[in-house]
């Protein structure tokens, strides 16, 4: 698993995750997502287009990140999930918790549209 965090302006950040998010790697994702809360990020776009496997510990890490962001009114948006990730989100009903967009671009565009 690889994680890259890019801070955009206006309290936005893009977190690009690639590889496998499983019990071995999820703790790091959790830490990195919780760190975003310290920067008072309002919109965290998690680009998981390159994640080819995610398990329950990966899902839990994202829920923890979301909860940390929500404390100051922030949101966590999932972008580009592959079928495997989408299925895991659907089966755990977490697709009702996270806004999910097919691509990062669409998510960012939609978000700025709403902001206007």
């Amino acid at each position: 698993m690889k994680i890259e965090v890019k801070h955009l302006d206006e309290g936005k950040a893009v977190v690009t995750v690639s590889g496998r998010v499983d019990a071995e790697t999820a703790p790091e994702l959790k830490t990195r997502l919780k760190d975003l809360a310290q920067y008072r990020i309002l919109q965290a776009f998690i680009d998981i287009a390159e994640v080819d496997f995610i398990d329950s510990s990966g899902l839990s890490a994202m829920v923890s990140g979301l909860k940390a962001l929500r404390k100051h009114g922030g949101a966590l948006i999932l972008c580009g999930p592959q079928p495997q990730a989408l299925k895991a989100l659907r089966l755990t009903l977490l697709d009702r918790v996270f806004p999910i967009y097919p691509t990062l671009e669409e998510a960012v565009e939609q978000a700025s549209h709403h902001a206007r």
């Binding site: 496998r20 499983d22 019990a23 071995e24 496997f53 398990d55 329950s56 510990s57 899902l59 839990s60 829920v63 923890s64 979301l66 909860k67 079928p83 495997q84 299925k87 895991a88 089966l91 755990t92 009903l93 977490l94 009702r96 918790v97």
Partner: protein, 642 residues
């Protein structure tokens, strides 16, 4: 009396070498374009090799490394001189040096194997003795070097423990260990001498017991003849001399002879398994040392049955190995005269008794006469560890106990034989006690139960895959500690019609989160072999199984070490997985997922939900003997034709 730096190092090397057959490194760094004070440039030019190509420039400093030409071995004294005395940098330098050293070793490939550590180990009767020797050497160096730091690396349960890093250097030491090596997080403990002990996994050659690293904080080395001879005295007390100069030649000769013996031993026994009509056969032999006393053998009986034999000559090493050659010869010679394994053992015993009695040793051996046409095995065993018969129709393992005394105990031993049907799907395994008596670092045996579970996981697989899985299981069980006993095994499976179109993949993993990746790969690989099936089947199953294995690691073993084993089976209608652990039992509860509150989702507990949703059936049972079993089934959608 040595005065110069290099002379002292040479002297030190000579002493160290005399007792430890080890390496000595002298290592130092200097600021760019400046030389360490106290070392004349001429000396550097002459004795230190500058190797900038090997990445010796680090953190803005240039490093010189001089390897004094020593025999590759398993002991090293690393001397580091630096100026001024930044101890964190000293640690850094040491980490760097060791890393460079070991990575070049790894690259050397065969050089690592050729090292003399086998001989060193053979010469050590008591590992504690060595440890004490190293500790004493470290104490001496510390007292001689005044304010310098001395780090001692010792082996304990196959881990290298770094002792004596002073507490004030601890955070920095932890940092470089994290960057340079794997260590066990949270396993740092305080040493009674005020330092800390850090377990690390250095790539030390097998058999290494440790190293003393003296870090000199001042380049004007305050050492002389006095402490060199003190070191000599301490090493003489702590180590058994390995190779005194008079012994070198004899030692080389012995090594040569042992290599020949190992070759002979290996060539005596079948290198390739014969093709037996309607049977699937595999065998392996892994001696704990260069040569051993375990063996397997194949021959033909007077009736044309296949004679399958596995045995163990009491004792280890060369003497046991020589006797295996004798047993082999008699077995090959006598088998064609017998139609019954009991009479074969009686004859072998009668012929070998005098030799074994004189050598004050004995041999255990199990023999099966396999008639592939009739599907019958006749079995007799001279005091050997129980053979194993897996009966497919009962899904159960039958132990096959000894039917008489070991060979060499009584000149007139007699042996009964049992006869049993060997049907489709049955597995017959002969092995030596190196399997069931294999110990983990805590001294726990794999045991008969462990073997039974392994056989359950393996028995559907081809013979070679089963043998490989058993050997892998032993490795996982040992968790890195060296193999103490020889292992020989011979396995025969009778294929069944259900094998057609069925893929079986046994697995054994250590209970570590890094294994989850392997589990996912295993399921995906199975999918890659069945391209006519939808990849989604395998993706779903990979996730479900990954969740189960994560559960076993987190809840059954609670992050303690352990073994997870099982099998994947893909046939026309189903994909199934069985996995066993030996940890705490578990109460699987599938959360009421549809009641999830989007405003307050839980930060965990999704695993069981996924297992439940992604499989067509799952169950968990806590079995007797502290074992747990998970069983997952996914039905292959009916539309698919194979």
């Amino acid at each position: 009396m040595p005065t110069g730096l290099v002379e002292i190092l040479e002297e030190l090397k000579a002493v160290w070498n005399m007792w430890t057959d080890g390496d000595l490194y002298y290592f130092e760094y200097a600021e760019p374009r400046s030389l360490p004070p106290g070392i004349p440039p001429a000396l550097l030019g002459e004795h230190l090799e500058r190797r900038p190509t090997e990445g010796q420039t680090m953190a803005g400093r240039t490093w010189w490394v001089k390897r004094l030409d020593l025999i590759p071995g398993d002991r090293f004294l690393v001397l580091s001189a630096d100026h001024p005395s930044p101890s964190a940098q000293v640690l850094e330098s040491w980490a760097y040096l060791l890393e460079a050293h070991f990575s070049s070793r790894e690259d050397g490939g065969g050089a690592r194997e050729r090292g003399s550590h086998h001989d060193f180990r053979a010469g050590m009767s008591d590992p504690e003795y060595t440890t004490e020797g190293l500790r004493a050497a470290a104490r001496l160096l510390k007292s001689c070097l005044g304010a310098s730091d001395v780090i001692l690396v010792i082996e304990e349960h196959s881990r290298m423990l770094v002792e004596g890093v002073e507490a004030r250097f601890y955070p920095r030491a932890q940092e470089w260990l994290e960057s340079a090596y794997m260590h066990e997080p949270g396993a740092f403990t305080t040493h009674d001498a005020g330092g800390v002990i850090m377990p690390i996994r250095l790539g030390l050659p097998a058999g290494s017991r440790g190293a003393v690293v003296a870090l000199m904080s001042d380049s004007s080395i305050p050492v002389g003849q006095a402490w060199v001879s003190d070191l000599e005295r301490i090493l003489a007390w702590g180590f058994k001399p390995l190779i005194s100069s008079q012994q070198v030649e004899a030692d080389q000769r012995l090594r040569h002879d042992l290599a020949i013996a190992a070759n002979i031993h290996a060539s005596l026994f079948p290198a390739r398994m014969p093709e037996i009509d309607g049977m699937d056969l595999a065998a392996d032999l892994i001696p704990a040392r260069q040569v051993g006393g375990d063996f397997f053998d194949l021959a033909r009986s007077s009736e044309g049955d296949w004679v399958l034999a596995v045995g163990d000559v009491a004792g280890k090493g060369a003497s046991a190995s020589i006797l295996t050659a004798v047993v082999h010869a008699v077995l090959q010679c006598e088998s064609p005269n017998h139609s019954h394994p009991g009479t074969l053992l009686e004859t072998i015993n009668a012929r070998l008794f005098a030799d074994l009695d004189r050598a004050e040793t004995f041999v255990t051996m199990a023999v099966g006469f396999l008639d592939p046409q009739r599907g019958v095995i006749q079995y007799a065993s001279a005091g050997h560890v129980d053979g194993v018969l897996w009966k497919a129709n009962e899904e159960r393992l039958h132990p096959m106990p000894a039917t008489g005394l070991p060979l060499g105990i009584s000149s007139s031993s007699t042996y009964d034989a049992s006869s049993t049907s060997f049907d489709s799907g049955d597995v017959f395994l002969l092995h030596t006690d190196g399997i069931t008596e294999s110990e983990d670092p805590g001294g726990k045996l794999l045991g008969a139960q462990g073997l039974t579970d392994l056989m359950y996981a393996c028995h559907l697989a081809p013979a070679r895959l089963q043998v490989d899985s058993l050997l892998t299981a032993l490795e996982v069980h040992r968790q890195g500690i060296p193999q103490r006993d020889d292992v020989a095994l011979l396995l025969c499976r009778r294929p069944e019609t259900a094998d057609e179109g069925r893929l079986v993949q046994p697995f054994v993993f250590p209970a570590e989160v890094s294994s989850i990746r392997l589990v996912v790969d295993l399921v995906r690989n199975l999918g890659a072999l069945r391209l006519n099936l939808a990849p989604e089947i395998f993706e779903d199953f990979a996730l479900a199984l990954a969740e189960v294995v994560a559960n076993q690691i987190k809840h059954a073993y609670r992050q303690q070490s352990g073994r997870i084993q099982g099998r994947l089976v893909l046939d026309k209608n189903t994909l199934t997985a069985d996995t066993f652990d030996y940890g705490n039992s578990f109460y699987p509860v599938v959360g009421a997922g549809n009641q999830l509150d989007p405003e307050n989702p839980p930060e965990g507990g999704y695993g069981m939900q996924l297992i439940d949703a992604l499989t067509d059936h799952w169950d968990y049972s806590s079995l007797e003997g502290g074992r747990n079993h998970w069983h997952l089934i996914k039905i292959i959608p009916g539309a698919v034709k194979s």
